[in-house]
Symmetry: C2
Subunit: 342 residues, 2 copies
Amino acid sequence: MLTQGATRPLGLSDVAARAGVSLQTVSRVVNHHPNVAAATRERVLRAIAELGYRPNTAARALVTGSSRAIGLVATHINQYGPAQTLLGLEQAARSAGYSLGVTILDENSASAMRDAVDRLVAQSVDAVVALSTYGKAVDALRRFVAPVPLIAVQVGRGEDHPTVWVDQELGAELATRHLLELGHRTVHHVSGPVDSLEARGRLRGWRRELVRAGAPVPEPIEGDWTAAAGHAVGRRLAAARLRGEDVTAVFLANDQMALGLLNALHGEGISVPGQVSVVGFDDVPEAAFYTPPLTTVRQDFAELGRRGVELVLCRLNGAVRELEPVQPLLVVRDSTGPASRT
Amino acid sequence: MLTQGATRPLGLSDVAARAGVSLQTVSRVVNHHPNVAAATRERVLRAIAELGYRPNTAARALVTGSSRAIGLVATHINQYGPAQTLLGLEQAARSAGYSLGVTILDENSASAMRDAVDRLVAQSVDAVVALSTYGKAVDALRRFVAPVPLIAVQVGRGEDHPTVWVDQELGAELATRHLLELGHRTVHHVSGPVDSLEARGRLRGWRRELVRAGAPVPEPIEGDWTAAAGHAVGRRLAAARLRGEDVTAVFLANDQMALGLLNALHGEGISVPGQVSVVGFDDVPEAAFYTPPLTTVRQDFAELGRRGVELVLCRLNGAVRELEPVQPLLVVRDSTGPASRT
DNA sequence: CAGGGAGATGTTAGCGCTAACAAGCCCGCC
DNA sequence: GGCGGGCTTGTTAGCGCTAACATCTCCCTG
């Protein structure tokens, strides 16, 4: 029916001819205009089905100036969180009748961001969603005056554009408090790259909770989200323990780094959670199967994508809406335990 | 320069007026036609830069019938492999001047696949790339007569469409042989879902290698790519060992499942590689930090994406080209060791 | 029963761009 | 010196669709 050879020059006029109506009437049916007689609509619909007609989006975009497409500017799409958000985004967009154009930023510069948005705009997308972008690229995003609505997802709380975000600070507080309540004197932190707004949020939450509890605030260690970084930190912390430093609890800004840390500690013969408790962030599906299963903070990434689309749709209707941040959730597994006074 | 307020009604005619030439000449400059005087081209280029003109892709698509866009139909984009391939794909497409439209298949049915391709075609993409799709959806793909070139990436060796693929059988053989050479009498296999062509390829390679070596071929166990599945299998194999069965080597069709298995074996007090050797597949970045670091088979996913675009470009030029499969690579780490005769 | 209004349908004019053709120009050649 | 041919530029006609306006028909109201 739909796959009918390589010929596909069907237009409104073909349908119109077949249904015995004018081209405009077909257009009305296709666009669900109210003022079409039921019988006529029926006839047109049948003709459309028989012919396998599909409207030409390019023509429509040309005349309406809108393509019913959303452009996505993303980085780190190969990581669990962003990928999951992409999934939510695509699904929500699709069910709202929008298609998704994707551009990857392979550099965190302001110019790369400008180019990306520009490229998307040239494709006449109706809105642009920026997904977990970083550093300079985010700066470019703020006070960016694009000809279309610009929505930021997971780039921290936006100031100049509508934003959808998970409450990173809360998540970090949850993690830190959990460790403190277990009796640890303080909690060390391995952050993400500091030019990431998410990383900064987690860092803030961690620090705030320590301060609130009156616990000492150790110097945070900057990681780069990779397991390798976590591994390096693990060896470093193990050495610090040997020097007699008080390292019994570590909160890492994502699960990959936590995995690396776990691996390093295991290699150094330090037991988790016996000697050191570890908390990650994200709750990747594998976290439950790390050795030991990782206590971590769950984020609903797909929800983020859905809300992003929701915000886009609101904006397109002229409504300006602020959304509540998504609440993260602490998932306690086996990598955390009571502080052992040795 | 590019961000110049919310107004953006610039057209060829604006540029033409500014440069003092006809609209068509501007079009020629934009499209790199050869027959434009150098001085004129210069003048037009300047006008374009000054005005910040960007061609309207919808209009261009309408008149040329081509949008310089590639459509991607994908599933499992939240997993490492496909996500990585997406990255390669997008980058290659972009540097060839193509944009990427993404559609996710949320169901492996033939009709979902048809809808997805149809949706993409309606957006007048120039070609469709199907990325690691499954079961019925793949069946629909074969002998699918689309109005645009259709390229399959990572869906096994294609019969009706040009295909880019990693030699899964070879990878599985590598893994199996490695274990056999370590002195294991046989190798157990945890496969992916059998409606996945990749899973089937790995299964075939594993079986072939066992047969070649004259080793017994145990019943393969079907998994679903998740760590949870690997965990379940781990418990099952541990029980089998207790019953005296000869389980000393396991090859799993991906790293996530291997992680689950590792976790289960650890929980059962079975040492890896002391008592059981484990090999995964994919070499996700975390595999080097599993406990113990996982021996696995590396696939170059990004290369797959690049080749996909290459094939699209060839096809668009009318050339039909067959590409060699990408070679996988065995990465030996610490989860495999010599068989211990107990 | 005339007038008006609402609903149904048709007609027209582009959206911004490119392909095809047309026109002018300069050059070299016989 | 006239003329053909290549180079450069301009003109025209849509691509397939929708918005705005024009019609026409019917039915209801006073």
